[in-house]
């Protein structure tokens, strides 16, 4: 398999909410197996960008392609693309009335039309991937935030997606729970999953990202390897931003 092939192509995405222009033309290509991390101040459209990719928020302009097929303007076929573009949310959004296992099974049964035994088998495999198979029969309210997020990652994985979008997956978690979720994400990255991650975890970005995109005011302000953005003197804006965070944390 050609590891350089582009699996996801995002072109000139623009989105406004009323007067507020949140995304002002964002474009990038994602190669298979690559991890891209989006960093930047809040309100710069990072989450909106992810939602524009799987059309949960339809963009005003611009196009998204998955494996050469257009995702934007795809009508009812969007439900096919959404299987192939997994998503993990800041607040997990597990289905509250279902056990961890059934959370993972549900779309396999309803969307993929799998048989019960097969769906169960697959769901258990995905829970094992994230270290949650012992919690299969527990309900979301019985799980810690970190456990819930790992289940939601398993739920996304179950659809065999080409790419997974992570929308601030650890922002609702304390540092210890953050670590257990990041471990799972690192493992996925090593295993070759293609991931787009909106996060404030610089450590994760530096150790996993093939490329960091620093977003500001609805555009990609700086783009490059973590090393380049952090150490090359030509790039200053992300360093400034991180400096501001660090100094705030020292206060």
């Amino acid at each position: 398999m050609n590891s350089n092939n582009v699996v996801l192509k995002v072109e000139d995405i623009r989105k406004s909410f009323g007067e507020n222009e949140v995304l002002r033309g964002v474009s990038f290509d994602v190669r298979r197996g690559e991890t891209k991390v989006f960093i930047g101040p809040s309100g710069t459209g990072k989450s909106t960008l992810l939602r524009c990719i799987n059309q949960l928020t339809p963009p005003d302009r611009g196009k998204v392609w998955l494996d050469g097929e257009e995702v934007t303007n795809s009508g009812a076929r969007i439900n096919y693309f959404r299987q192939k573009i997994g998503m993990v949310f800041q607040n997990f959004f597990l289905f509250d009335h279902l056990t961890a296992l059934k959370n993972v099974e549900l779309a396999l049964l309803k969307v993929r039309g799998m048989g019960k035994a097969e769906a169960r088998e697959k769901a258990l495999t995905e829970l094992r991937q994230v270290g949650m198979e012992d919690w299969a029969d527990h309900y979301p309210a019985e799980l810690s935030g970190g456990q819930a997020q790992r289940v939601s990652i398993a739920r996304a994985l179950a659809m065999d997606p080409d790419v997974i979008l992570f929308d601030e997956p650890t922002s609702a978690l304390d540092p210890e729970l953050t670590r257990e979720v990041l471990e799972v994400m690192k493992k996925l990255a090593r295993e070759g999953m293609t991931m787009l991650v909106v996060t404030h975890e610089m450590g994760f970005a530096c150790s996993v990202a093939n490329e960091v995109l620093f977003m500001e005011n609805g555009v990609v302000a700086e783009q490059g390897s973590p090393d380049l953005l952090l150490h090359d003197p030509r790039f200053t804006r992300m360093k400034d931003f991180i400096g501001r965070i660090d100094s705030r944390m020292e206060d």
Partner: protein
Amino acid sequence: MDQAVFLFEILLPALMQGLVVTLQLIACSAPFGLALGIAVAVGRQYGNPVVSWLCKTFVFLIKGTPLLLLLFILYFGLPSIGITFTAFVASVVGFILCNGAYNAEYIRGALISIKDGQMVAAQALGMTRWQAIRSVILPQALRRAIPGLSNEFIYLIKYSSLAYMITVIELSGAGKLVATKYFTYTESFAAVGIVYLVLVSITTVAVNILEKRVAVPGTTRATAAAQL
């Protein structure tokens, strides 16, 4: 006449016959009332503007007019345009419409209370809106609607007595017939009242059991129910 003879040979047999009719009215109305309530609530909340408006108007009309009026129209009015129901069927249709409209409001309240994230997560997995409503939203909303729905079910038990006004001899009607024939108003209607109390008590216990069985483990509701 001996009180015991009156009670066991006249009043109770008559009330039992009436009770059977009342139970038939409820059994024929409640399931469809629930189904109608779900359909109207979902239609109003998730349907296109036309469907939503129709559902809203339906609820408005039923809420805004007395049930008795509806029964009169169904039984005495519709024959003039060629639709003739038996008194029993007219009652059941009226009860379904009334029960459905009120159920719809309880269910709608529960639908609104489900966080958007549930729908978003379902759609992000490739589910259609309809699949998400059926498999994710409704199962949660119906659990939350149980207290309201059980309230409405209890109302149904009681307003089923209105069927007597269009000649269905159900529990209240049976009591009335005995009362007027033997001039035993207090005894007869007290006995009728006791039967309704028993019906409502059984319902209350059944709803408590149902609520515990469908409670989602780990939620506050489940915890509170377990402590009872």
